[in-house]
């Protein structure tokens, strides 16, 4: 070995890091990481929307349990949520559940709880005058929410959603624990096989994660500036 580092281990396994055994086998590596993050993000957007709206319902018999649930999930480590899914899903569904689905469900449940707080803050950020004006024009409560408050609120929520997506990308690394072959898992596999290059391998995947997440962090900042309401003064 010449020099301190030997990055041949990266170039030799590059396609494996990127897509796993994809054309001949299941998708893995970075491709699977992005797939897990995107699917969980879409699901938890709707999960967060439902939980956020329910947590604002006037009826305490609905809002109280929903808030309790949201706070309970937020109080747990993601790892715990994934383990719960790993146990409960097969028991509840009466069949074995593939690991990648377990992880998607775990990530969705966990992220929905955080998304619901974004939705809540976005809705509460719309001035009460808007609601009052809409009601006085004869709209019903659900119409006010659907046509007046949510369209404005969702716009304000976009940067926070993008930030949450960045967290989600980072959180997909936990799929490693239940054996889903996403980027981190692939890295440990290559590390176990080659033995001698852990530094190179983990620096490499850290850099990949960094570029991916940094791109979206920057997007979120740009959107925040772009979408800011023009102030009167």
């Amino acid at each position: 070995m010449d020099g301190l580092f030997n990055f041949h281990v990266i170039t030799d396994n590059f396609t494996y890091f990127m897509i796993g055994r994809f054309p001949h086998g299941p998708l893995g590596g970075l491709g699977l990481t992005i797939y897990l993050a995107v699917v969980s993000c879409i699901l938890s957007f709707f999960g967060g929307l439902v939980l956020g709206l329910l947590s604002l319902v006037r009826n305490p018999f609905i809002s109280y349990p929903v808030n309790l649930f949201i706070n309970a999930v937020r109080g747990l480590p993601l790892l715990m949520v994934i383990f719960w899914m790993y146990f409960l899903l097969p028991a509840l569904m009466g069949r074995t559940v593939p690991e990648s689905q377990t992880v998607i469900m775990g990530l969705t449940l966990f992220t929905s709880a955080y998304m619901s707080q974004i939705v809540r803050a976005g809705i509460e950020g719309i001035p009460a005058g808007q609601t009052e004006a809409a009601i006085s024009t004869g709209l019903k409560h659900w119409q006010v929410m659907l046509y007046i408050v949510l369209p404005q609120g969702l716009r304000n929520m976009i940067p926070s959603f993008v930030n949450q997506f960045v967290s989600l990308i980072k959180d997909t690394s936990l799929a490693f624990i239940v054996g889903v072959s996403e980027l981190t898992h692939v890295a440990t596999q290559v590390n176990n096989r080659t033995m001698a290059y852990p530094t190179e391998i983990f620096i490499f995947i850290a850099v990949i994660y960094f570029f991916l997440c940094y791109a979206f962090t920057s997007l979120s900042r740009w959107l925040e500036e772009r979408l800011a309401w023009r102030k009167a003064i």
Binding site: G75, P77, L78, L79, L92, I203, C213, Y214
Partner: protein, 235 residues
Amino acid sequence: MLTYQFDWSVVTSGKYFEWLVSGFKVTLQLSVVGIVLAFIVGLLIAVMRMSNFRPVRWFALAYLEFFRNTPLLVQIFFWYFGSYKILPTAVNDWLNSTNFEFAAAVIALTIYTSAFIAEDIRSGVLSIPREQMEAARSAGFSYLRSMQYIILPQAVRITVPPLVNQFLNLAKNSSLAMTIGVMELTYQARQVESYTFKGFEAFTAATVVYLVLSTSITALVHIYDKRVLNPNRAV
């Protein structure tokens, strides 16, 4: 599921109960050592981030962006498996003579959390109106004394709730240390599960501990918020 026999005695007494308790202790150790170190490093990075000297500011910015945009698990693996090539021999020897799993977890948690704390501290300082500094300076305080007596005391008060939140995040994140064999709460819950097949009981016990921890600390922040930060607000 219907045929499952619950046996709560597994986790309420005896050997497995002691495993869980020892796991909780390790979780607390990781969290407390981690938050103290992360606060010190975070303060340092925050000060560097606000420095007028560009290279220092850029270093702090690169540190913040890199460690915030990389998964904690990858950082843990890096310090555990890969750090020996970049650390001096003396440090490696010292780390190997101690509990290396614990040390690697603390290093990773500290660095990861410090990046978040630095931003909290910075926004705390930035939230103090500029006029406070100008008034202090015109009253004859030097820059450092104005920071010490006027700006920082106010900034710290504002920064306490986000810092406590970071402590909670750290406690939750410390569960990832199980992947390198640190025997904290989640690790022990899993151990109990694999020894007794009572996974439901074991994970319920761990869940309850995490929830009690986070609920009680959140409640304390809430009281602090009411009593100290907004004592005069009606609601």
